[in-house]
């Protein structure tokens, strides 16, 4: 099959409904007792909300209902029902869902993308959250006229990760993202494998996080980024030699300056074995690397990995302090190929609230800060900038790239695709009640790996098609053209729609 200028066969989208009996929907449909089971609603609804039932139709896909915005259509069931027995109202549970960064609509639209691989047709805001700043206040300036000269197949979303010009292999990914580190222990092996297999299908990578390298991942070595973090859990020469990218984690955006902490409850015998530790006792990954006091020490680290694995690219994951630009330059001179800027919105098993909210700057500032500094230093085209820790949607991805990143890395959105509801209780009791971020064997069974893989693939395929749409509207043929294009962005606090030629979205 012709796949355009990216010679990569993307995986097919397959519909993959949620695991639970009732999806959480924006609207709630009730059918009154006066229903005669005539079946008209079943045949009218193009979204297949209703299915046959014994006494009355069953409301089986409530979450596909566009709600009152459907009222203009001549197939609107509420109007057409001969008995006027159908009622649509807001779902009261919907408002109890989510938070400011991931409001209910963003969660529901991500679930929709994971189920269908498409952009939601309902009136769900799938572009921004409700944080009232940063990505949520930044818009693209699109030209008013629709552009048609570029075909979907004519747009490249590929990203080359080795820009250094050294003799190491060029590693290219057909999408401008890879899947961020989430350790075995913080998530179940089922979750981990779902993410890894999705990464393989999408031709990209998935980082192991700091929990060691489970044997189950060995078949996918070529798509694994193994992490070397301060705790050095499960890091062995053998694991470093297996992979094409090795990632140094200096800091993690969710707990900047604080290091990792896996609560004792989550250190099951399997986790303990992987991490070469004792089951049941909490594991600390200290902050920071105690062998690194300077950029020179950092270079020593990078050289060590390069010596162990001559074909590996080196990525350096850092948090966003006020001097993050200097850290990036230091990483470049130490020989890193990728600098990953990790913002504080990213998920993690457990982090102090005070750190998540207050320590280090939002990633939306860090990206342009580093981009502009490296540009001024004349080395911007020698290193790849990856932004992470707060990318929730295709729009966030495109904005991050326009602000100066080459690509992004995602974790939380994957979990949302697996039906995470952002209850923020990953750490309590047996862990995630929804079986995602847990090592409890019984709970973890709730995720079927094939199901999880396809859900994640679907979400990313929806993201990719949105990215292509954005690029086309901007008249770009490659995602690389979008990097650092502040001129196509506007912040709603500083620019009003009437002041510009295009329109804001």
């Amino acid at each position: 099959m012709e796949q355009g200028i990216d010679p990569f066969q993307f995986p097919p989208v397959q519909e993959m409904p949620g695991r639970f009996r009732n999806a959480i929907s924006k609207y709630r449909i009730t059918i009154h007792k006066t229903c005669t089971n005539c079946g008209l609603c079943i045949s009218l609804c193009p979204y297949n909300v209703f299915t046959n039932g014994l006494k009355q139709p069953r409301v089986s896909r409530e979450h596909f209902c566009p709600g009152s915005s459907c009222s203009e259509n001549d197939f609107y069931c509420v109007n057409r029902c001969p008995e006027k027995a159908i009622f649509i109202r807001r779902n009261p549970s919907f408002e109890a869902l989510g938070d400011r960064r991931w409001p209910a609509e963003l969660l529901a639209s991500t679930w929709y993308m994971a189920e269908t691989g498409c952009i939601p047709h309902q009136d769900l805001n799938y572009k921004t959250g409700d944080s009232n700043g940063g990505f949520d206040k930044i818009r693209f300036i699109f030209p008013r006229e629709e552009r048609t000269e570029i075909a979907d197949e004519g747009v490249s979303t590929a990203l080359a990760l080795n820009r250094s010009g050294d003799n190491r292999p060029q590693v290219s990914i057909p999408v401008p993202f890879y899947l961020a580190g989430m350790s075995f222990g913080s998530v179940s092996i089922q979750t981990m494998l779902s993410r890894v297999k999705a990464a393989v299908a999408l031709g990209t990578f998935c980082s192991t996080g700091e929990g060691g390298y489970p044997e189950e991942l060995t078949p996918y070595d070529d798509h694994i980024i193994t992490q070397v973090a301060t705790g050095l859990f499960g890091v062995r020469e053998d694991t470093i030699k297996r992979v094409r990218i090795v990632e140094f984690k200096y800091a993690q955006g969710a707990k900047p300056g604080l290091g990792g902490h896996l609560l004792g409850d989550k250190v099951t015998p399997q986790v303990a074995q992987m991490r070469e530790a004792v089951a049941g006792s909490a594991l600390f990954s200290p902050f920071p690397f105690h062998s690194v006091y300077s950029v020179e020490d950092h270079k020593k680290h990078v050289d060590w990995i390069k010596e162990v694995n001559p074909r590996a690219l080196i990525s350096v994951k850092v948090s966003t302090p006020t001097d993050v630009d200097m850290v990036a330059v230091g990483s470049y001179y130490a020989g890193a190929h990728i600098i990953q800027l990790d913002g504080s919105y990213g998920g993690t098993g457990a982090a102090p609230d005070i750190a998540k909210k207050n320590i280090a700057m939002p990633v939306e500032y860090a990206i342009p800060k580093v981009h502009k500094f490296l540009l001024a230093e004349g080395i911007r085209d020698k290193i790849t900038i990856i932004a992470s820790g707060g990318i929730r949607s295709a729009y966030d991805m495109a904005k991050a790239i326009a602000m100066g990143a080459d690509g992004i890395s995602v974790g939380t959105a994957d979990l949302v695709a697996l039906e995470c509801i952002r209850c923020h209780h990953c750490e309590s009791g047996r862990g995630c009640a929804r079986g995602i971020a847990t090592t409890d064997e019984e709970l973890a069974k709730a995720i079927d790996i094939e199901w999880g893989t396809q859900r994640i693939i679907n979400m990313y395929m929806a993201w990719r098609s949105q990215l292509i749409k954005i690029l086309k509207r901007l008249g770009m043929r490659s995602v690389t053209e979008l990097v650092g294009r502040f001129d196509v962005l506007a912040h709603l606090d500083y620019i009003k729609e009437k002041e510009i030629k295009g329109y804001l979205d």
Partner: protein
Amino acid sequence: MPGRYHIHTKVVPNRFPAITRSGVIAWEEGCLKCARCVKKDCVYKVYEKRGLDTRQMLDSLDSMCKDCFRCVQNCPNRLIHKGINPVYRALGDSYWTPEIISSLWFQAETGRIPVSGGGYGGPFSGKGFDAMWTDMSEIVRPTRDGIHGREYISTTVDIGRKLMALEFAPDGGLISQIPPLIEIPLPIMFDILPWSPPDDKIIKAFLHGARSLGTFVCIEESYLQHDMEEFLSHIILLIEGIPHHRDKGFFQMLRMVEIPDSGETKALQEWLKEINSELIVMVKLPLSAEAPERVFQLATDGVEVIHLVADEYGMEWGGNPFFIADRMKDIHLFLVEKGIRDQVTLIGGGGIAMAEHMAKLIICGADAVTIDIPLLVAMECRVCRRCKEGIPCPVELEGIDPLWGAMRITNLIGGWHNQLLEILGAVGMREVRRLRGEMGRSMFFEELEQEFFATMGNSR
């Protein structure tokens, strides 16, 4: 090896069931009694432990539920719903938010730092303290040693006046008079409440808490009762003028006194020093646009400690009022420019609601902070302010056991102390004294917006 300051915390249960965000699981009619929700879906066993608090008619389903939505999503007849607890939403106001209040409750109950999974879910930034971020340091400094090193981070601050240099006589004898200095082990003192129920037991809870923590409570002279005199060394007595009914021996037992900023300030300070030269006199100055000049004047006149107060929302007085953090920056930088910042101690209070506020006000130039409302919240106050109107307190604060209250306060401050260590650890500092005025180790919303967002949309 320096002594370590450790706050001993233990779980101190609530007297009333906590008000939680979620809850209100509503069943619609038509339940089949299949017990799927009870037996299969609740991993937290909320249904099995279900109970009713008869005092408030609260169902424990509401307070124990952790919002996993499994029962909502698996009920065969779609009968279970969740909502946000309206009582929770009505807590406090736009500054003292339900999130802040419930986080303070958690800390007072457990003594632990609030921890959660899943990343930050709040707003991008906000007004006041939410318009700044603190720094972190990517690379290790020799003063740091990971998680164990945090035990050696000092949160001690000095209260009093400091000399910039010592003067010696030709024979080597010291000429300079060393002013008295009090060290407190953490940069927090307790202040008078803007409002509270009848407060005899409440003040006693503060006093017990302050004594065990090694800090002070500001108390108005008229509130001081005989049975509080055992706490005199942990009281900052607020006097408006010379209290003629007190004998001089009384002032010799005190370590700190607070006086208002007025025409009498100097005379009152001299009168106090005459009786007890070791006494530290703090001058209370409401914040306003005139504060920088006034602080400079007081500092030049030899005042030792200045207590800069804002209202309970952190706002100063006068037209076009500043937020406490912004005014504190002004004052600090003005004194730095005048070359006398280090001679005087600045303490800020008003609107300090969370541990991060303490750290941020110190970054803006305060040496220490005073807190008030959080102490009440530690004892389950709901910031409903009914007591202000003379309406009975819904959590019966006037009847608390002071020792219970003191333990709750100790837990809260234990949590704050730990969070201060997190901030200091992340910036790579070993002493809170060094954090003072370190605006270069923080990031401000307005500056970052100007630098990165305000220019967007301009053609290249």
